[in-house]
Amino acid sequence: MSGLGVWNYVIIIFLMMIGLYMVMSSSNLVKKLIGLNVFQTSVFFLYISFGYIEGATGPVMQEGASLYSNPLPHVLILTAIVVGVATTAVGLALSVRIKESFGTIEEDELHTMDSSL
């Protein structure tokens, strides 16, 4: 921990807030998805930071190494990245279809077109 200190966590919180703020504040649907991605990525970093051990090698048995990083968070995050990609793909596909049927992907314009949204 001493190498990085808590800086990685400061960065993670920073990214997390940027992501959430983008999701809430931007009116463009694609920008919302980008914000969502930033938010998810910050959580990936959080997991990777958990798995990091100062001075440890990768989790493969080798000569002269006694300290190994925990591989499990990486495996979890690989799964979470796949999930994130799939979510982004579905979100983008929805944006395309919204553009086709409404002619816009700006949220405030969508609101005025269908007041019940």
């Binding site: 959430l20 999701v23 649907l29 919302k32 969502l36 938010f39 998810q40 959580v43 959080l46 997991y47 958990f50 499990l72 968070p73 979890l76 799964t79 979470a80 999930v83 799939a86 979510t87 579905v90 979100g91 929805l94 944006s95 279809r97 919204i98 049927s101 409404f102 969508l110 269908d114 019940s116 949204l117």
Partner: protein, 492 residues
């Protein structure tokens, strides 16, 4: 085969989904999906019988023991949920053939059934798994399938409804992921039973408290607890009728199950209700939710939307029960999970039948329905009575238990709120029934809905009455599940 039941429930829809996408025409994918859902129901019922006879059922995936592999752990609570999910799937799928072909077109049917099978897979997976991260994966499988299914609705607003659910659902799931990460850091395990064993020793740490807050908030987004319910009304209103029936009956219920699992099994009653102010947060939200959503639903011109708001209100009852933190409250909550699945499934299927004949689901389409579509209309009346909580229906059974649980705690204002919620339900159901009886039909030439829609619909309506009269099965299982959950932690 009996030893592999938990995984068969998952494998059947998992393997069926890609096959369904390759089949041509509307009928073959439908047939495959229906048969698989019946198979899954059979497995679930066998599982419930087995759990009842032999206690908690543990399945190690691939033969890897728990800390290394993922284990599936079936006790009364998730066996009950599994029967609800697969049972509803088995009823909604036969219904879906006509309704889906009519609403989304024959060419997209294979993809529809693929997504529906994936949804069933995801929901069953959340229910059976005994691994906290595995819950996240299945949660996202079911959510992605849900977004796709909602977007298949005929109205273009289905697209925007699906998009906003995607944003909110992903934020909810990511909150859950953050919470699970904190728990992993503190305990070094993701297995639910191990988590439950190791957490009490470190429950003072602020990391565990933060994890609890993230997990509860994330799941409450998925289960649409007031005020996190904003995605739900649009999603239910604009998705295809069969999807609404299945989602309305099962999706939020599975999220409730995850909440129950975390609050009672993993964190334990002492931590959730002693160290953390869970009851103080959830009880007011549940009561505000059930009163405000019921009030809003009175004013809805679209009946599907009215029922969607009523779902938010019913979630209020369910959360109220579990937020009491007593065995009786939990029993009422689990009972209402099951019973509300039955009644909302039936009511949304009625709306599908109305949409099939009348082309819409507004209150104008319901006018004079008693004359033109009497069987559909009477199904609505019986489902509505169940929603209100009239004796001899399932709604009465669960509300009765909820009131008993609040009386046990001496929470008189809560009893008043529950009764007020039922009165509001009388108003919003009564409004539709009145239009159906006394209104002039919009189009008197319309005939009764086809048998393909009526038979599954009435199966559910009869289940509403059956489980309202013969309460042994549901109450016994809910009580056994609540006792198991209250005992907390690990059931070895």
């Amino acid at each position: 085969m009996l030893a592999h039941l938990p995984v068969l429930v998952i494998l059947a829809p998992l393997l069926g989904a890609p096959v369904a996408s390759l089949l041509r025409g509307p009928n073959w994918p439908w047939l495959l999906a229906t048969l698989l859902s019946w198979f899954a129901l059979l497995c679930s019922v066998l599982l419930l019988i087995q759990v009842n006879a032999q206690g908690t059922f543990i399945y190690t995936m691939g033969g890897w023991e728990a800390p290394w592999g993922i284990e599936y752990r079936i006790d009364f609570a998730n066996a009950l949920l599994l029967v609800l999910i697969t049972g509803l799937a088995s009823v909604v799928l036969p219904y879906a053939r006509l309704s889906v072909e009519h609403e989304i077109g024959a060419d997209r049917c294979p993809l529809f059934y693929t997504a529906l099978l994936l949804l069933i897979l995801g929901l069953c997976g959340i229910t059976v798994t005994g691994d906290a991260f595995n819950v996240f994966v299945f949660l996202e499988v079911s959510s992605l399938a849900t977004y796709t299914l909602i977007a298949m609705g005929r109205d273009r607003r289905a697209l925007t409804a699906s998009f906003s659910y995607l944003i909110m659902g992903t934020i909810g799931a990511t909150f859950y992921l953050i919470g699970v990460g904190f728990l992993y850091v503190m305990t070094g395990t993701l297995n639910m039973a191990d988590l439950a064993e190791r957490l009490p020793a470190i429950s003072d740490s602020s990391t565990v408290r933060t994890a609890f807050a993230f997990i509860v908030t994330g799941i409450c987004l998925k289960l649409a607890l007031f005020p996190l319910h904003l995605w739900l009304p649009n999603a239910y209103t604009y998705s295809p009728s069969a999807v609404t029936a299945f989602l309305g009956a099962t999706a939020t219920k599975v999220a409730v199950y995850v909440l129950i699992r975390f609050v009672f099994t993993i964190f334990g009653v002492e931590f959730s209700f002693g160290a953390e102010p869970l009851a103080e947060v959830l009880v007011p939200l549940a009561i505000i939710g059930l009163l405000s959503a019921s009030t809003v639903s009175i004013m809805q011109p679209n009946i599907k939307r009215m029922l969607a708001y009523s779902s938010v209100a019913q979630i209020g009852y369910i959360v109220l029960g579990l937020a009491m933190g007593t065995a009786m409250g939990l029993t009422a909550s689990l009972l209402h999970v099951f019973n509300h699945g039955l009644m909302k499934g039936a009511l949304f299927m009625v709306m599908g039948a109305v949409a099939y004949r009348m082309g819409g689901t507004s209150i104008d389409d319901m006018r004079g329905l008693a004359k033109t579509m009497p069987l559909t209309f009477w199904a609505f009346v019986l489902g509505g009575l169940s929603l209100i909580g009239v004796p001899l229906t399932v709604g009465f059974v669960s509300k009765w238990h909820l009131i008993l649980a609040s009386l046990e705690l001496g929470w008189w204002p809560v009893v008043v709120a529950i009764l007020a919620g039922s009165m509001l339900a009388v108003v919003y159901v009564g409004r539709v029934v009145e239009a159906g009886f006394f209104g002039e039909p919009k189009d008197a030439t319309k005939r009764e809905a086809p048998w393909g829609l009526l038979v599954p619909l009435w199966v559910l309506v009869i289940a509403n009455i059956w489980f309202g009269i013969d309460t042994r099965l549901t109450v016994d299982i809910a009580e056994a599940a609540a006792a198991q959950l209250m005992a907390g932690g690990v059931v070895r």
